[in-house]
Protein backbone atom coordinates (compact mmCIF):
# COMPACT_ATOMS: atom_id res chain seq x y z
CA UNK A 1 0.00 0.00 0.00
CA UNK A 2 1.36 3.29 -1.06
CA UNK A 3 1.24 6.25 1.28
CA UNK A 4 -0.36 9.28 -0.33
CA UNK A 5 0.24 12.66 1.26
CA UNK A 6 -2.81 14.65 2.46
CA UNK A 7 -2.30 17.38 -0.15
CA UNK A 8 -2.24 14.74 -2.85
CA UNK A 9 -5.43 13.15 -1.52
CA UNK A 10 -7.25 16.44 -1.85
CA UNK A 11 -5.91 16.84 -5.35
CA UNK A 12 -7.08 13.37 -6.24
CA UNK A 13 -10.54 14.15 -4.94
CA UNK A 14 -10.62 17.44 -6.85
CA UNK A 15 -9.50 15.70 -10.02
CA UNK A 16 -12.09 12.99 -9.73
CA UNK A 17 -15.02 15.14 -8.66
CA UNK A 18 -14.31 18.30 -10.48
CA UNK A 19 -16.36 21.16 -9.09
CA UNK A 20 -18.15 18.95 -6.62
CA UNK A 21 -15.63 19.55 -3.87
CA UNK A 22 -16.90 22.78 -2.41
CA UNK A 23 -14.59 23.14 0.51
CA UNK A 24 -11.28 21.63 1.49
CA UNK A 25 -8.82 22.18 4.27
CA UNK A 26 -5.76 20.47 5.70
CA UNK A 27 -5.01 20.88 9.36
CA UNK A 28 -1.66 19.93 10.81
CA UNK A 29 -1.52 19.38 14.54
CA UNK A 30 1.50 19.02 16.72
CA UNK A 31 1.74 17.57 20.15
CA UNK A 32 4.20 16.77 22.89
CA UNK A 33 7.67 18.16 23.48
CA UNK A 34 9.08 16.89 20.20
CA UNK A 35 6.33 18.61 18.22
CA UNK A 36 5.74 15.72 15.87
CA UNK A 37 2.80 16.39 13.63
CA UNK A 38 -0.20 14.64 12.14
CA UNK A 39 -2.77 15.73 9.60
CA UNK A 40 -6.49 16.08 9.28
CA UNK A 41 -8.42 16.60 6.08
CA UNK A 42 -11.75 18.41 5.93
CA UNK A 43 -13.63 17.92 2.70
CA UNK A 44 -17.05 19.05 1.67
CA UNK A 45 -18.67 17.47 -1.32
CA UNK A 46 -21.97 17.83 -3.10
CA UNK A 47 -24.60 15.24 -2.42
CA UNK A 48 -24.71 13.86 -5.98
CA UNK A 49 -21.11 12.70 -5.80
CA UNK A 50 -21.12 11.65 -2.16
CA UNK A 51 -21.47 7.91 -2.63
CA UNK A 52 -18.84 7.93 -5.37
CA UNK A 53 -16.50 9.82 -3.07
CA UNK A 54 -16.82 7.17 -0.36
CA UNK A 55 -16.27 4.51 -3.01
CA UNK A 56 -13.15 6.34 -4.15
CA UNK A 57 -11.97 6.61 -0.56
CA UNK A 58 -12.28 2.85 -0.22
CA UNK A 59 -9.86 2.43 -3.14
CA UNK A 60 -7.19 4.47 -1.35
CA UNK A 61 -7.42 2.29 1.73
CA UNK A 62 -10.36 0.61 3.39
CA UNK A 63 -11.18 3.43 5.82
CA UNK A 64 -12.03 3.11 9.47
CA UNK A 65 -15.42 4.67 9.94
CA UNK A 66 -15.99 6.49 13.25
CA UNK A 67 -19.39 8.18 13.19
CA UNK A 68 -21.67 10.51 11.28
CA UNK A 69 -22.15 13.83 12.99
CA UNK A 70 -25.25 15.81 12.29
CA UNK A 71 -25.83 19.53 12.15
CA UNK A 72 -29.14 21.24 11.56
CA UNK A 73 -28.11 24.54 9.98
CA UNK A 74 -31.63 25.74 9.36
CA UNK A 75 -32.11 25.35 5.62
CA UNK A 76 -30.04 22.23 5.34
CA UNK A 77 -28.85 19.29 7.33
CA UNK A 78 -25.13 18.86 7.18
CA UNK A 79 -23.80 15.39 7.75
CA UNK A 80 -20.11 14.87 8.38
CA UNK A 81 -18.76 11.36 7.95
CA UNK A 82 -15.63 10.88 10.02
CA UNK A 83 -13.18 8.43 8.50
CA UNK A 84 -9.57 7.67 9.12
CA UNK A 85 -7.08 6.04 6.78
CA UNK A 86 -3.52 4.74 7.03
CA UNK A 87 -3.97 3.45 10.54
CA UNK A 88 -1.43 0.96 11.82
CA UNK A 89 1.66 3.13 11.49
CA UNK A 90 2.97 5.83 13.74
CA UNK A 91 2.03 9.40 12.72
CA UNK A 92 0.76 8.17 9.38
CA UNK A 93 -2.94 8.11 10.15
CA UNK A 94 -5.01 10.81 8.46
CA UNK A 95 -8.42 11.76 9.79
CA UNK A 96 -10.64 12.43 6.83
CA UNK A 97 -13.89 14.25 7.49
CA UNK A 98 -16.22 14.13 4.53
CA UNK A 99 -19.16 16.49 4.80
CA UNK A 100 -22.22 16.85 2.64
CA UNK A 101 -25.38 18.93 2.91
CA UNK A 102 -28.94 17.75 2.43
CA UNK A 103 -31.77 20.15 1.64
CA UNK A 104 -34.59 20.03 4.19
CA UNK A 105 -37.23 19.35 1.57
CA UNK A 106 -35.53 16.20 0.34
CA UNK A 107 -33.68 14.46 3.14
CA UNK A 108 -32.33 11.50 1.24
CA UNK A 109 -28.82 10.18 1.06
CA UNK A 110 -27.50 6.89 -0.28
CA UNK A 111 -26.51 4.42 2.40
CA UNK A 112 -22.86 3.41 2.58
CA UNK A 113 -23.52 0.16 4.41
CA UNK A 114 -22.86 -1.84 1.24
CA UNK A 115 -19.31 -0.45 1.25
CA UNK A 116 -18.75 -0.24 5.00
CA UNK A 117 -21.18 -2.51 6.92
CA UNK A 118 -20.03 -1.01 10.21
CA UNK A 119 -21.78 2.27 9.38
CA UNK A 120 -25.19 0.73 10.00
CA UNK A 121 -25.56 1.76 13.64
CA UNK A 122 -24.62 5.33 12.90
CA UNK A 123 -26.95 5.59 9.91
CA UNK A 124 -29.80 4.24 11.97
CA UNK A 125 -29.02 6.77 14.69
CA UNK A 126 -29.07 9.67 12.24
CA UNK A 127 -32.27 8.29 10.75
CA UNK A 128 -34.11 8.37 14.06
CA UNK A 129 -32.47 11.50 15.49
CA UNK A 130 -32.58 13.70 12.38
CA UNK A 131 -35.18 12.11 10.14
CA UNK A 132 -32.80 11.54 7.25
CA UNK A 133 -33.74 8.69 4.93
CA UNK A 134 -30.90 6.43 3.98
CA UNK A 135 -31.63 4.78 0.67
CA UNK A 136 -31.10 1.02 0.59
CA UNK A 137 -30.76 0.87 4.38
CA UNK A 138 -33.00 -1.95 5.61
CA UNK A 139 -35.91 -0.71 7.67
CA UNK A 140 -34.83 -1.73 11.16
CA UNK A 141 -36.30 -0.66 14.49
CA UNK A 142 -34.87 2.26 16.45
CA UNK A 143 -31.45 1.82 17.97
CA UNK A 144 -31.55 4.37 20.73
CA UNK A 145 -35.03 5.77 20.89
CA UNK A 146 -37.90 3.60 22.13
CA UNK A 147 -39.56 1.56 19.39
CA UNK A 148 -42.87 3.35 19.95
CA UNK A 149 -41.37 6.83 19.88
CA UNK A 150 -43.65 9.48 18.39
CA UNK A 151 -43.48 9.44 14.61
CA UNK A 152 -42.29 12.65 13.02
CA UNK A 153 -40.36 13.93 16.02
CA UNK A 154 -36.60 13.98 15.60
CA UNK A 155 -34.86 14.91 18.87
CA UNK A 156 -31.71 16.49 17.46
CA UNK A 157 -33.46 18.69 14.91
CA UNK A 158 -33.59 22.40 15.73
CA UNK A 159 -36.70 23.22 13.73
CA UNK A 160 -40.39 22.54 14.33
CA UNK A 161 -39.76 18.79 14.14
CA UNK A 162 -37.44 18.78 17.11
CA UNK A 163 -38.35 18.42 20.76
CA UNK A 164 -38.63 20.98 23.49
CA UNK A 165 -35.15 22.17 24.44
CA UNK A 166 -34.78 22.34 28.18
CA UNK A 167 -32.48 25.31 27.97
CA UNK A 168 -31.78 27.68 30.82
CA UNK A 169 -33.82 30.56 29.48
CA UNK A 170 -36.61 28.21 28.44
CA UNK A 171 -36.63 29.52 24.87
CA UNK A 172 -38.83 27.40 22.68
CA UNK A 173 -37.37 26.48 19.37
CA UNK A 174 -39.50 23.43 18.63
CA UNK A 175 -43.07 24.04 17.55
CA UNK A 176 -45.03 21.02 18.66
CA UNK A 177 -44.23 21.43 22.32
CA UNK A 178 -45.72 24.92 22.56
CA UNK A 179 -49.01 23.46 21.39
CA UNK A 180 -48.69 20.73 23.92
CA UNK A 181 -48.28 23.14 26.83
CA UNK A 182 -51.34 25.03 25.76
CA UNK A 183 -53.26 21.77 25.72
CA UNK A 184 -52.06 21.09 29.22
CA UNK A 185 -53.33 24.48 30.32
CA UNK A 186 -56.71 23.82 28.73
CA UNK A 187 -57.05 20.57 30.65
CA UNK A 188 -56.23 22.32 33.87
Amino acid sequence: MEYIKPEKIIELFKEKFNGSVTNNKIETKTAGLKKNSYSLIWLEIELKDFKEAVKFLCTIQFPHFAIISDNDTGEEIKLTYHFSIYYGERFKEISLNLATSLPKNNLKIPSITDLIPGAQTSEREIKEMMGVTFEELPDLPNVFLPIDFTKGVYPLRKDEKGVYPLSKNGKHIGGNITDKEEEVKKVE
Binding site: N36, A66, E93, F144, D148, Y164, P165
Partner: protein
Protein backbone atom coordinates in the same frame (compact mmCIF):
# COMPACT_ATOMS: atom_id res chain seq x y z
CA UNK B 1 -34.78 -32.34 9.73
CA UNK B 2 -37.00 -29.54 10.80
CA UNK B 3 -35.08 -27.33 13.18
CA UNK B 4 -37.27 -26.13 15.98
CA UNK B 5 -35.74 -23.14 17.68
CA UNK B 6 -36.83 -21.35 20.80
CA UNK B 7 -36.06 -17.85 21.92
CA UNK B 8 -34.23 -16.66 25.01
CA UNK B 9 -34.10 -13.02 25.97
CA UNK B 10 -30.98 -11.80 27.71
CA UNK B 11 -31.65 -8.43 29.24
CA UNK B 12 -32.60 -5.68 29.76
CA UNK B 13 -31.84 -6.93 33.26
CA UNK B 14 -29.78 -10.06 33.56
CA UNK B 15 -27.00 -11.20 35.91
CA UNK B 16 -24.48 -11.36 33.09
CA UNK B 17 -25.04 -7.75 32.07
CA UNK B 18 -23.68 -4.89 34.11
CA UNK B 19 -25.91 -2.43 32.30
CA UNK B 20 -29.29 -2.57 30.59
CA UNK B 21 -29.25 -3.86 27.04
CA UNK B 22 -31.48 -6.38 25.34
CA UNK B 23 -30.39 -9.37 23.30
CA UNK B 24 -32.91 -11.72 21.76
CA UNK B 25 -31.52 -15.09 20.86
CA UNK B 26 -32.98 -17.82 18.71
CA UNK B 27 -31.57 -21.04 20.10
CA UNK B 28 -31.48 -24.52 18.64
CA UNK B 29 -30.60 -26.92 21.44
CA UNK B 30 -27.73 -25.03 23.00
CA UNK B 31 -26.54 -23.32 19.81
CA UNK B 32 -27.26 -19.71 18.87
CA UNK B 33 -28.95 -19.48 15.48
CA UNK B 34 -29.93 -15.85 15.43
CA UNK B 35 -29.07 -12.73 17.41
CA UNK B 36 -31.09 -9.58 17.64
CA UNK B 37 -29.60 -6.61 19.45
CA UNK B 38 -31.87 -3.98 20.90
CA UNK B 39 -29.87 -1.25 22.64
CA UNK B 40 -31.29 2.03 23.82
CA UNK B 41 -32.41 1.05 27.29
CA UNK B 42 -29.85 3.41 28.74
CA UNK B 43 -30.25 6.35 26.41
CA UNK B 44 -30.18 9.59 28.35
CA UNK B 45 -29.98 12.12 25.54
CA UNK B 46 -26.63 13.45 26.72
CA UNK B 47 -25.77 14.96 23.34
CA UNK B 48 -29.07 16.80 23.40
CA UNK B 49 -28.34 18.07 26.89
CA UNK B 50 -24.85 19.10 25.83
CA UNK B 51 -26.19 21.28 23.06
CA UNK B 52 -27.85 23.46 25.70
CA UNK B 53 -24.71 23.98 27.79
CA UNK B 54 -21.44 25.83 27.50
CA UNK B 55 -18.26 23.85 26.81
CA UNK B 56 -17.01 23.92 30.38
CA UNK B 57 -20.28 22.51 31.64
CA UNK B 58 -20.11 19.83 28.98
CA UNK B 59 -16.79 18.55 30.35
CA UNK B 60 -18.60 17.40 33.47
CA UNK B 61 -21.44 15.98 31.43
CA UNK B 62 -18.96 14.09 29.26
CA UNK B 63 -17.27 12.77 32.36
CA UNK B 64 -20.58 11.27 33.42
CA UNK B 65 -21.32 9.53 30.14
CA UNK B 66 -19.73 6.54 31.76
CA UNK B 67 -18.23 5.87 35.17
CA UNK B 68 -15.31 3.84 33.88
CA UNK B 69 -14.26 6.05 30.98
CA UNK B 70 -14.43 9.17 33.09
CA UNK B 71 -11.05 10.35 31.86
CA UNK B 72 -11.51 9.27 28.24
CA UNK B 73 -14.59 11.26 27.32
CA UNK B 74 -13.40 14.59 28.79
CA UNK B 75 -9.98 13.97 27.25
CA UNK B 76 -11.46 13.60 23.77
CA UNK B 77 -13.94 16.42 24.31
CA UNK B 78 -11.30 18.87 25.52
CA UNK B 79 -9.16 18.02 22.52
CA UNK B 80 -12.08 18.61 20.19
CA UNK B 81 -12.78 22.04 21.71
CA UNK B 82 -9.09 22.95 21.72
CA UNK B 83 -8.84 21.99 18.06
CA UNK B 84 -11.94 23.97 17.22
CA UNK B 85 -10.89 27.08 19.15
CA UNK B 86 -7.18 26.81 18.44
CA UNK B 87 -6.00 26.49 22.03
CA UNK B 88 -2.58 25.00 22.71
CA UNK B 89 -2.16 22.85 25.80
CA UNK B 90 1.08 23.38 27.76
CA UNK B 91 3.37 20.35 27.66
CA UNK B 92 3.15 19.66 31.36
CA UNK B 93 -0.63 19.57 31.05
CA UNK B 94 -0.35 17.07 28.22
CA UNK B 95 1.84 14.78 30.31
CA UNK B 96 -0.51 14.89 33.29
CA UNK B 97 -3.43 14.08 31.01
CA UNK B 98 -1.62 11.03 29.72
CA UNK B 99 -0.71 9.85 33.22
CA UNK B 100 -4.34 10.05 34.34
CA UNK B 101 -5.59 8.35 31.17
CA UNK B 102 -3.13 5.49 31.56
CA UNK B 103 -3.99 5.02 35.23
CA UNK B 104 -7.58 4.77 34.11
CA UNK B 105 -6.61 2.12 31.60
CA UNK B 106 -4.99 0.02 34.33
CA UNK B 107 -8.09 0.31 36.50
CA UNK B 108 -10.46 -0.43 33.64
CA UNK B 109 -8.59 -3.49 32.38
CA UNK B 110 -8.31 -5.00 35.84
CA UNK B 111 -11.99 -4.34 36.42
CA UNK B 112 -12.72 -6.11 33.16
CA UNK B 113 -10.55 -9.05 34.18
CA UNK B 114 -12.67 -9.49 37.28
CA UNK B 115 -15.90 -9.32 35.32
CA UNK B 116 -14.62 -11.84 32.82
CA UNK B 117 -13.82 -14.20 35.68
CA UNK B 118 -17.29 -13.76 37.08
CA UNK B 119 -18.91 -14.44 33.70
CA UNK B 120 -16.96 -17.67 33.51
CA UNK B 121 -18.22 -18.73 36.93
CA UNK B 122 -14.76 -18.15 38.41
CA UNK B 123 -15.70 -15.85 41.25
CA UNK B 124 -12.33 -16.04 42.99
CA UNK B 125 -10.85 -14.12 40.07
CA UNK B 126 -13.48 -11.43 40.46
CA UNK B 127 -12.67 -10.85 44.12
CA UNK B 128 -8.92 -11.04 43.75
CA UNK B 129 -8.65 -8.75 40.73
CA UNK B 130 -11.04 -6.17 42.13
CA UNK B 131 -8.98 -6.12 45.27
CA UNK B 132 -5.92 -5.44 43.14
CA UNK B 133 -7.82 -2.63 41.41
CA UNK B 134 -8.26 -0.76 44.70
CA UNK B 135 -4.61 0.29 44.66
CA UNK B 136 -4.93 2.29 41.46
CA UNK B 137 -8.23 3.78 42.58
CA UNK B 138 -6.54 4.95 45.77
CA UNK B 139 -3.80 6.51 43.69
CA UNK B 140 -6.32 8.27 41.46
CA UNK B 141 -8.05 9.60 44.54
CA UNK B 142 -4.71 10.78 45.86
CA UNK B 143 -3.87 12.57 42.61
CA UNK B 144 -7.24 13.97 41.57
CA UNK B 145 -9.43 13.85 44.67
CA UNK B 146 -11.86 11.30 43.26
CA UNK B 147 -11.86 7.56 42.72
CA UNK B 148 -13.86 7.94 39.53
CA UNK B 149 -15.18 11.01 37.69
CA UNK B 150 -11.81 12.62 38.34
CA UNK B 151 -12.81 16.15 37.39
CA UNK B 152 -9.23 16.97 36.41
CA UNK B 153 -9.70 17.85 32.75
CA UNK B 154 -10.23 21.41 31.63
CA UNK B 155 -10.19 22.98 28.22
CA UNK B 156 -6.60 24.00 27.68
CA UNK B 157 -5.00 21.69 30.22
CA UNK B 158 -5.67 20.11 33.57
CA UNK B 159 -6.93 21.48 36.84
CA UNK B 160 -4.44 19.91 39.22
CA UNK B 161 -0.70 19.56 39.10
CA UNK B 162 1.26 16.48 40.09
CA UNK B 163 3.78 17.68 42.63
CA UNK B 164 7.25 16.32 43.29
CA UNK B 165 6.12 14.72 46.57
CA UNK B 166 3.39 12.78 44.84
CA UNK B 167 5.69 10.96 42.44
CA UNK B 168 7.01 8.33 44.92
CA UNK B 169 3.41 7.33 45.63
CA UNK B 170 2.81 6.79 41.89
CA UNK B 171 5.97 4.73 41.62
CA UNK B 172 4.88 2.62 44.58
CA UNK B 173 1.63 1.75 42.83
CA UNK B 174 3.44 0.92 39.60
CA UNK B 175 5.76 -1.42 41.52
CA UNK B 176 2.70 -3.05 43.09
CA UNK B 177 1.23 -3.77 39.68
CA UNK B 178 4.52 -5.08 38.38
CA UNK B 179 4.54 -7.54 41.26
CA UNK B 180 0.96 -8.57 40.81
CA UNK B 181 1.11 -8.86 37.04
CA UNK B 182 2.76 -12.29 37.23
CA UNK B 183 -0.20 -13.54 39.26
CA UNK B 184 -2.74 -12.12 36.83
CA UNK B 185 -0.91 -13.72 33.94
CA UNK B 186 -0.88 -17.03 35.82
CA UNK B 187 -4.60 -16.88 36.45
CA UNK B 188 -5.71 -15.87 32.98
CA UNK B 189 -3.21 -17.38 30.61
CA UNK B 190 -2.23 -20.58 32.38
CA UNK B 191 -5.43 -21.73 34.05
CA UNK B 192 -6.75 -24.73 32.08
CA UNK B 193 -10.43 -24.07 32.76
CA UNK B 194 -10.21 -20.46 31.58
CA UNK B 195 -8.41 -21.59 28.44
CA UNK B 196 -11.10 -24.23 27.90
CA UNK B 197 -13.82 -21.63 28.10
CA UNK B 198 -12.19 -18.85 26.06
CA UNK B 199 -10.11 -20.44 23.29
CA UNK B 200 -11.91 -20.49 19.92
CA UNK B 201 -14.92 -18.84 21.49
CA UNK B 202 -16.43 -15.65 20.05
CA UNK B 203 -14.10 -15.48 17.08
CA UNK B 204 -13.97 -12.23 15.13
CA UNK B 205 -11.93 -12.54 11.95
CA UNK B 206 -9.73 -9.77 10.65
CA UNK B 207 -12.04 -9.06 7.69
CA UNK B 208 -15.08 -8.82 9.93
CA UNK B 209 -13.25 -6.53 12.31
CA UNK B 210 -12.27 -4.26 9.42
CA UNK B 211 -15.68 -4.26 7.77
CA UNK B 212 -17.61 -3.68 10.96
CA UNK B 213 -15.17 -0.97 12.11
CA UNK B 214 -14.34 -2.56 15.45
CA UNK B 215 -12.10 -0.54 17.76
CA UNK B 216 -9.79 -1.03 20.70
CA UNK B 217 -8.70 -4.37 22.13
CA UNK B 218 -11.47 -6.06 20.15
CA UNK B 219 -9.93 -5.14 16.82
CA UNK B 220 -6.36 -5.57 18.01
CA UNK B 221 -7.15 -9.11 19.17
CA UNK B 222 -8.24 -9.79 15.59
CA UNK B 223 -4.82 -8.74 14.37
CA UNK B 224 -5.40 -5.16 13.22
CA UNK B 225 -2.71 -2.86 14.55
CA UNK B 226 -4.98 0.04 15.23
CA UNK B 227 -4.41 2.28 18.21
CA UNK B 228 -4.91 6.03 18.17
CA UNK B 229 -1.99 6.44 20.54
CA UNK B 230 0.19 4.90 17.85
CA UNK B 231 -1.46 6.06 14.63
CA UNK B 232 -2.17 9.67 15.40
CA UNK B 233 -0.30 10.42 18.62
CA UNK B 234 -1.94 13.26 20.43
CA UNK B 235 -0.94 14.94 23.67
CA UNK B 236 2.18 13.49 25.27
CA UNK B 237 1.78 10.24 23.36
CA UNK B 238 3.60 11.98 20.53
CA UNK B 239 6.81 11.80 22.58
CA UNK B 240 6.35 8.26 23.79
CA UNK B 241 6.89 5.14 21.79
CA UNK B 242 3.52 3.40 21.91
CA UNK B 243 2.94 0.31 19.80
CA UNK B 244 -0.42 -1.31 19.18
CA UNK B 245 -0.51 -4.65 20.95
CA UNK B 246 -1.74 -7.69 19.09
CA UNK B 247 -1.88 -11.17 20.63
CA UNK B 248 0.90 -12.52 18.41
CA UNK B 249 3.35 -10.57 20.58
CA UNK B 250 2.88 -13.28 23.18
CA UNK B 251 1.61 -16.38 21.39
CA UNK B 252 2.86 -15.84 17.85
CA UNK B 253 -0.58 -16.30 16.33
CA UNK B 254 -3.82 -14.37 16.00
CA UNK B 255 -7.12 -16.15 16.47
CA UNK B 256 -9.41 -13.26 17.29
CA UNK B 257 -11.09 -15.21 20.10
CA UNK B 258 -11.88 -14.23 23.67
CA UNK B 259 -8.55 -15.60 24.85
CA UNK B 260 -6.72 -13.21 22.52
CA UNK B 261 -8.73 -10.30 23.91
CA UNK B 262 -7.60 -11.31 27.39
CA UNK B 263 -3.97 -11.34 26.22
CA UNK B 264 -4.26 -7.91 24.63
CA UNK B 265 -5.76 -6.39 27.76
CA UNK B 266 -3.20 -7.96 30.08
CA UNK B 267 -0.32 -6.76 27.93
CA UNK B 268 -1.83 -3.30 27.81
CA UNK B 269 -1.66 -3.10 31.59
CA UNK B 270 2.10 -3.59 31.32
CA UNK B 271 2.26 -1.08 28.50
CA UNK B 272 0.40 1.48 30.61
CA UNK B 273 2.87 1.01 33.45
CA UNK B 274 5.75 1.65 31.04
CA UNK B 275 4.04 4.72 29.59
CA UNK B 276 3.50 6.23 33.02
CA UNK B 277 7.12 5.56 33.94
CA UNK B 278 8.31 7.28 30.77
CA UNK B 279 6.01 10.20 31.51
CA UNK B 280 7.35 10.56 35.03
CA UNK B 281 10.91 10.64 33.69
CA UNK B 282 10.28 13.13 30.91
CA UNK B 283 7.65 15.37 32.41
CA UNK B 284 8.64 19.00 31.75
CA UNK B 285 8.06 21.84 34.17
CA UNK B 286 5.83 24.75 33.37
CA UNK B 287 2.19 25.64 33.22
CA UNK B 288 -0.51 23.02 33.39
CA UNK B 289 -3.27 25.01 31.76
CA UNK B 290 -3.38 27.55 28.93
CA UNK B 291 -5.90 29.87 30.58
CA UNK B 292 -6.39 29.71 34.33
CA UNK B 293 -9.33 32.11 34.58
CA UNK B 294 -12.48 30.31 33.59
CA UNK B 295 -14.46 33.47 32.79
CA UNK B 296 -11.78 34.57 30.38
CA UNK B 297 -11.71 31.08 28.86
CA UNK B 298 -15.47 31.10 28.42
CA UNK B 299 -15.33 34.47 26.71
CA UNK B 300 -12.63 33.17 24.41
CA UNK B 301 -14.76 30.11 23.57
CA UNK B 302 -17.81 32.30 23.01
CA UNK B 303 -15.95 34.16 20.31
CA UNK B 304 -14.43 31.06 18.73
CA UNK B 305 -15.63 29.68 15.46
CA UNK B 306 -14.63 26.40 13.90
CA UNK B 307 -14.92 22.69 14.15
CA UNK B 308 -12.63 20.11 15.65
CA UNK B 309 -12.39 16.48 16.44
CA UNK B 310 -10.87 14.87 19.50
CA UNK B 311 -9.78 11.27 19.54
CA UNK B 312 -8.51 9.30 22.48
CA UNK B 313 -7.69 5.65 22.83
CA UNK B 314 -9.86 4.72 25.81
CA UNK B 315 -9.43 1.34 27.53
CA UNK B 316 -12.21 -0.03 25.33
CA UNK B 317 -11.14 1.59 22.09
CA UNK B 318 -11.25 4.87 20.31
CA UNK B 319 -13.38 7.64 21.80
CA UNK B 320 -14.35 10.20 19.21
CA UNK B 321 -15.75 13.66 19.89
CA UNK B 322 -16.77 16.22 17.32
CA UNK B 323 -17.44 19.80 18.35
CA UNK B 324 -18.53 22.74 16.26
CA UNK B 325 -18.33 26.19 17.80
CA UNK B 326 -20.25 29.00 16.16
CA UNK B 327 -19.61 32.20 18.13
CA UNK B 328 -22.26 31.32 20.66
CA UNK B 329 -22.41 30.36 24.28
CA UNK B 330 -23.26 26.76 23.49
CA UNK B 331 -21.59 24.65 20.83
CA UNK B 332 -23.60 24.20 17.67
CA UNK B 333 -22.87 20.51 17.51
CA UNK B 334 -21.47 18.06 19.98
CA UNK B 335 -21.21 14.47 18.92
CA UNK B 336 -19.75 11.82 21.20
CA UNK B 337 -18.86 8.38 19.96
CA UNK B 338 -17.92 5.75 22.52
CA UNK B 339 -16.01 2.59 21.59
CA UNK B 340 -18.91 0.25 22.32
CA UNK B 341 -20.90 2.05 19.64
CA UNK B 342 -18.58 0.62 17.01
CA UNK B 343 -18.15 -2.70 18.76
CA UNK B 344 -21.90 -3.28 18.72
CA UNK B 345 -22.02 -4.77 15.22
CA UNK B 346 -19.12 -7.23 15.74
CA UNK B 347 -21.19 -8.92 18.45
CA UNK B 348 -23.32 -10.65 15.83
CA UNK B 349 -20.55 -12.65 14.10
CA UNK B 350 -18.98 -13.39 17.48
CA UNK B 351 -22.16 -14.82 18.99
CA UNK B 352 -23.56 -16.78 16.03
CA UNK B 353 -22.94 -20.50 16.30
CA UNK B 354 -21.75 -20.35 19.89
CA UNK B 355 -23.49 -21.94 22.85
CA UNK B 356 -25.74 -20.36 25.46
CA UNK B 357 -22.93 -20.81 27.95
CA UNK B 358 -20.69 -18.60 25.83
CA UNK B 359 -23.10 -15.67 25.75
CA UNK B 360 -21.91 -13.92 28.94
CA UNK B 361 -18.21 -14.11 28.21
CA UNK B 362 -18.58 -13.17 24.55
CA UNK B 363 -20.73 -10.19 25.46
CA UNK B 364 -18.22 -9.22 28.13
CA UNK B 365 -15.24 -9.78 25.84
CA UNK B 366 -15.59 -6.46 24.06
CA UNK B 367 -15.83 -4.85 27.50
CA UNK B 368 -19.16 -3.28 26.68
CA UNK B 369 -20.06 0.06 28.14
CA UNK B 370 -23.72 0.44 27.40
CA UNK B 371 -23.92 3.73 29.24
CA UNK B 372 -21.29 5.12 26.91
CA UNK B 373 -23.03 3.84 23.84
CA UNK B 374 -26.56 4.90 24.64
CA UNK B 375 -26.47 8.45 25.19
CA UNK B 376 -34.99 10.54 28.21
CA UNK B 377 -37.77 10.63 26.40
CA UNK B 378 -40.83 9.49 28.21
CA UNK B 379 -43.99 8.22 26.67
CA UNK B 380 -47.55 8.59 27.74
CA UNK B 381 -49.36 5.38 26.98
CA UNK B 382 -52.73 6.35 28.40
CA UNK B 383 -55.49 6.90 25.83
CA UNK B 384 -53.39 5.05 23.27
CA UNK B 385 -51.66 8.25 22.25
CA UNK B 386 -47.91 8.23 22.48
CA UNK B 387 -46.61 11.67 23.18
CA UNK B 388 -43.56 13.33 24.53
CA UNK B 389 -44.18 14.51 28.05
CA UNK B 390 -43.39 18.06 29.02
CA UNK B 391 -41.34 19.14 31.97
CA UNK B 392 -44.54 19.99 33.81
CA UNK B 393 -46.01 16.54 33.23
CA UNK B 394 -42.89 14.97 34.63
CA UNK B 395 -43.01 17.22 37.65
CA UNK B 396 -46.67 16.37 38.29
CA UNK B 397 -45.99 12.68 37.90
CA UNK B 398 -43.17 12.77 40.38
CA UNK B 399 -45.31 14.70 42.86
CA UNK B 400 -48.02 12.07 42.49
CA UNK B 401 -45.54 9.28 43.05
CA UNK B 402 -44.11 10.94 46.13
CA UNK B 403 -47.62 11.26 47.57
CA UNK B 404 -48.27 7.61 46.81
CA UNK B 405 -45.11 6.46 48.54
CA UNK B 406 -45.34 8.81 51.53
CA UNK B 407 -48.96 9.88 52.02
Amino acid sequence: MNKKTYSIPIGPVHPSLEEPMTFNFEIYGERIEKVNLAPGDNHRGIEFMGRQRNPIQIIYLAERICGICSASHPFAFCQAVENAAGIEVPERGQYIRVIIAELERIHSHILWAGIAGHELGFDSVLYISWRAREEVLDLLEYLTGNRINYGIFMIGGVRRDISEEQIPRIRKTLEYYKDIYGKLEDIFLKDPTIALRTKNVGVLTKEEALNLCAVGPTTRASGIKKDVRQDQPYSAYADLDVKAITPDVLTGEVNGDVYDRIIVRLLEVVQSIQIIEQCLENIPSGDIIAEKKLVKLLNQLKKAKGEGIGRHEAPRGEVFHYVKLAEAEVPEVWKARAPTYNNLMPWAPMLLGEQIADIPIVIASIDPCIACMDRVTILNKANGQKEVLTKKDLHDLSVQKTRRIAP
